[in-house]
Amino acid sequence: MIEVHEVRKQFGAVQALGGVSFTARDGQITALLGPNGAGKTTLLRTLVGLLRRDHGTIAIDGVDPARDPLAVRRNIGFLTDQFGLYERLSTREYLAYFGELNGMDGAALHKRIDEVSDLLAMDDLLERRSKGFSQGQRIKVALARTLLHSPRHLLLDEPSRGLDVMSTRALRHALSALRRRGCCVIMATHVMQEVTHLCDDVIVIAKGHTVAQGSPQDLCRRTGIANLEDAFVSLVGTEEGIAA
């Protein structure tokens, strides 16, 4: 469970977050919607303790990332907007590296690598070096890294970009499986169809503020608009950022 209350963050004169509050529950997939530049990346970085907030409270299973970032990170799988692969390592070596950094080792680690690889249907990638991987293959490897240490919380920044139909389905199955296991998933995305199909809860942020939180149906009802995309535009109050 991730609880965020009135979080603000300022860089010089720029107010990146001006008051963000929401609750992401266990066993739910929560969509994080917002136009480009709304503060999603800053918010995610604050959640893993890379940035310190100026104001407000954050509790991830009761732990404050500003107090104990390592405990929080052990329990979070973070997929950034960059994949961060190493071209000179094979996928297995790459996963083993991050597994070890998360305190796993030996046979258990390699068993888990095989499990995650099964889940994402990426057996063919395991022994190859990441040089020359396609966008879809790269994101699979990065996602495998995110899931490897079986974190209770997942922060995913646009996990489905660049994936083909089969991989998107595989991702959707994987996320559903995680939800059944009681994980708390926050997923920043621009794909409304994904939100409607997959997400139980939606947080809309714009210009560093939470504009609304509720299920997709809730948001449509509240704005009186049947289509989620139009509802989102009406909530954000501008057309910009929708192109993506």
Partner: protein, 394 residues
């Protein structure tokens, strides 16, 4: 379980060792210097041990016309080879073969002119590109002495003292020996042996910081349950290990070559034992670690691999400055020199090469003078990586 910085270290090391081209360049650089040094020293030794007038060979056309001159040349250890008449082209070819230092040609009217006391012409043909200046000068000296002798005899016959022709007497003394010239060089030559500390770890330092940032994997790494200092230390040890390996290899190779050369011939000595060399290598490990820490601390702030490399190539030159300055100013070895990284290593090796008894203190000072700034640089880099400004820039 392995500690976190060991995990980072092993991964970075594995990645670096897979970069075969960079590794090859580093190896080439490390091996090239001692080999070049050995070759140059060997040349220096050969040149200084070569006997003064060994093998001055002179071709003479028309030798029979001046038997006294030929005798005087032979007296000065110049081998005269009599050859038949030759044209310009044939002489050129003979000189290009580099068997003879020069060709003397006595003109056909030599005897007539000599008898009539008109200047009798002798041609000296030489190849200025052949680098035989000293030998050629020897030949000319004999010719001048011969001319002076004849002139003196003629003056005497007219009742004039030959001394009137020599108002001054010039005597040359050359005090420069090969030994004193090379003694000034040896300091900076030995200093260069430690240069791999700054070169061998560089690509690992740059690649694991600026390179990782450029490829955008740094943010992922920093959001793992790892402390900033564990990341920095892992990367630092990778670069430091490569640098230390480079220095050790270079010193071992230089030791083998310098022990084998007869350095006494040019007034140098290499009386370093294997045990002492091992101690020097050990005392130089912090220098490698210092170089690696400095490079990490600087390279992590660069946005790209290229930017970091151009920044570091400036920094690489700085450690050479004290060593070169000291050998140029010809300062006497003093204790403070053991407190300047790089200069301390150079001084240590120089003193050992001379065979001086220096005790333990210089070793300890050399070790500490690099170890302390290395730790400071690592602390700085860790602090920097934790800072919010750095997180925002990755």
């Amino acid at each position: 379980m392995k500690s976190k910085f060991m995990i980072v270290f092993l991964k970075e090391l594995r990645e670096t060792l897979r970069e075969k081209r960079t590794l090859g360049l580093i190896a080439l650089f490390t091996l090239m210097y001692p080999v070049m040094l050995g070759y140059l020293m060997n040349q220096l030794i050969e040149r200084s041990t070569r006997p003064e007038r060994e093998g001055i060979e002179l071709a003479v056309i028309g030798a029979a016309k001046a038997p006294t001159l030929m005798a005087q040349l032979k007296q000065k250890n110049i081998t005269v080879r009599e050859v038949g008449a030759m044209d310009e082209q044939a002489i050129g070819e003979l000189l290009r073969a580099r068997k003879v230092v020069a060709v003397l040609r006595l003109s056909d009217q030599f005897i007539d002119n000599y008898r009539a006391m008109r200047p009798a012409r002798i041609e000296l043909w030489f190849d200025s590109a052949a680098d035989k200046g000293p030998q050629q000068r020897d030949v000319e000296e004999v010719l001048e002495a011969y001319g002076a002798n004849v002139a003196s005899a003629r003056l005497l016959a007219h009742g004039v003292s030959p001394a009137t022709l020599a108002p001054i007497q010039l005597q040359r003394y050359d005090t420069g020996t090969n030994a004193s010239r090379s003694a000034g060089l040896i300091g900076s030559i030995l200093g260069m042996l430690f240069f791999p500390a700054f070169v061998c770890g560089m690509s690992a330092a740059v690649d694991s910081t600026a390179g990782e940032r450029e490829r955008r994997s740094m943010e992922v790494l920093m959001s793992q349950p790892v402390r900033a200092w564990e990341l920095v230390v892992g990367k630092w040890l990778t670069a430091g290990t490569l640098a230390a390996a480079g220095v050790t290899l270079e010193l071992a190779l230089a030791h083998a070559i310098l022990s084998w050369l007869p350095l006494e011939e040019i007034g140098l000595s290499w009386s370093v034992t294997g045990g002492e060399l091992a101690l020097v290598c050990l005392a130089s490990v912090p220098l490698s670690l210092f170089a690696a820490a400095l490079q990490i601390a600087l390279a992590m702030n660069a946005r790209s691999f290229k930017e970091a490399q151009s920044l570091l190539s400036f920094v690489v030159v700085v450690p050479l400055v004290p060593g070169v300055a000291v050998s140029m100013l010809e300062l006497k070895t003093a204790t403070w020199m053991y407190m300047v990284p790089m200069l301390s290593n150079q001084t240590l090796l120089q003193e050992l090469a001379k065979g001086s008894e220096i005790g333990v203190v210089p070793f300890l000072l050399t070790f500490a003078s690099a170890a302390l700034p290395a730790l400071a640089a690592v602390l700085f880099a860790s602090w920097r990586m934790k800072s919010e400004r750095y997180v925002l820039a990755v």
